[in-house]
Amino acid sequence: MSAAAARSLATARRVLEQLRHDPRTVALMIGVPCVLETLLRLVYAHHRASFDQAGAPLLAIFPLMTVFLITSIALLRERVSGTLERLLTTPLGRLELLGGYALAFGLLAAAQAVIASALTLGPLGLHVRGSSLLVVLLAVAVALLGMGLGLLASAFARSEFQVVQFLPATILPQLLLCGLLVARSRMPAALHAVSDLLPLSYAVDGMHHLTLQASASGARGDIAIVLAFAAGALILGAGTLRRRTE
């Protein structure tokens, strides 16, 4: 194993150890999606088709919010506490650091997706025509997107109060335009065009490909687009991890 890979792995292990000391956060990250999906099922008790339509996209939205929040706060703490400054005086590279975070949060998102989709597709009876493995893969891709956006948010915030405000600022507009409330094809042309530029739209399209149309190739294409957005956000974010600061 190369020294760089070893440093990334050590970072992933450290991030997971930090979470292990915080079981309440982990329990919330895993439990809240399950409770919300159950609640949605109860709300749509007499509208099975509506549950199929809204329940699946939610599976992609949870990892976006969860990973956005933990990344933005974790990286803000690294910046404020001085640990980032210390790390950048060691042989650890910026991409190695982000690789470690991506590995840890990707695993966490996968665990969240496996448990939430097992409940949603199983006992709650969400109807999925495509592969449930693709559901998990899509959730992990969305988690990496959440990490990239969270990393960017951490660069523009000076406090935890500020950083959490970036969640409604960056994610709620995407939520309104992603096709969850109104199908994107039925939106005004201008809004449809805007929604084409937003990554969450492709995550929701991907889920619809898996649940409504059973189009695995369509879903794979959407996963690739989400991953491309994630890579873009992570590369921009890596640029904000400055070695030399004022």
Binding site: A6, T11, E17, D22, S81, G82, E85, T245, E246
Partner: protein, 245 residues
């Protein structure tokens, strides 16, 4: 790479740090105003001066994390901030920069892994053996400082930059830490230690006295007390500044 192999002239030991007209401008204010000095590759150099005199800025410039550094700043024979220096520097920031939601042991294991170093005997050395499996969050201020110090010592770097390592600690602990610093210097490391407690100046081999971003003097503790005709370091510093006016 050993320190002695880095000398530019054959046979000569090169300086751990060499500065020529080093300036840092921050938000329109000159934080460092043209510093020139050399620090020997070994021994303890104390960096003294009141708060806001530029001590941290200078240490950060040497560590390669300070933006907008102008002038010539050479560290172990290389320009400050060179990637290969990252294996040879131990840097302890002013606030204990360790993960407070990890145990002492987990912190050191992580920093050791990214430095490619071993943690053998380190906890004993900083007196934290009993706290190894405690979360840093639950430790006292002095204990946290020592976790941060232990992380800086990983891999036995030839140059240690310690920014106010003894601030706010009780006198007993301060004495213990200075004993450790002396041990490290005896083992061949160069230490640059900042402090605003002037009584600690007597424990250094060499002193850099800073005031408002300028170097007031570089001298040994004996020279300082001799020049100021007093053994009170505080008084000596004040007299030196007044003499300069």
């Amino acid at each position: 790479m050993g320190r002695t192999e880095l000398g530019r002239e054959p046979g000569a030991r090169c300086a751990a740090v060499a500065a020529r007209d080093v300036r840092v401008r921050r938000r329109g204010i000159e934080a460092l105003r043209g510093l020139s000095f050399e620090i020997a590759a070994g021994g303890i150099t104390g960096l003294f001066g009141p708060s806001g005199s530029g001590k941290s800025t200078l240490i950060r410039a040497i560590a390669g994390v300070q933006a907008a550094v102008v002038g010539e700043l050479t560290v172990l024979g290389l320009p400050a901030g060179s990637p290969s220096l990252r294996h040879q520097l131990g840097y302890m920031t002013q606030a204990p920069s360790v993960y407070e939601d990890l145990t002492v042991e987990e912190n050191l294991r992580y920093f050791a892994a990214i430095c490619g170093a071993r943690t053998d005997g380190l906890l004993e050395r900083v007196g934290l053996l009993e706290q190894a499996s405690q979360l840093v969050r639950r430790l006292s201020g002095g204990q946290r400082t020592r976790v941060s110090l232990a992380a800086a010592l990983l891999g036995k770097p030839p140059l240690l930059l310690l920014d106010e390592p003894t601030v706010g600690l009780d006198p007993l602990l301060r004495r213990e830490l200075w004993r450790l610093f002396r041990e490290l210097a005896d083992e061949g490391a160069a230490l640059m230690i900042s402090s605003h407690v002037l009584e600690e100046a007597g424990r250094c081999d060499d002193l850099l006295l800073l005031r408002e971003g300028s170097l007031v003097a570089q001298l040994s503790p004996a020279q300082l007390t001799a020049r100021a005709h007093t053994h009170d370091m505080d008084e000596a510093f004040v007299r030196l500044i007044e003499e300069r006016r």
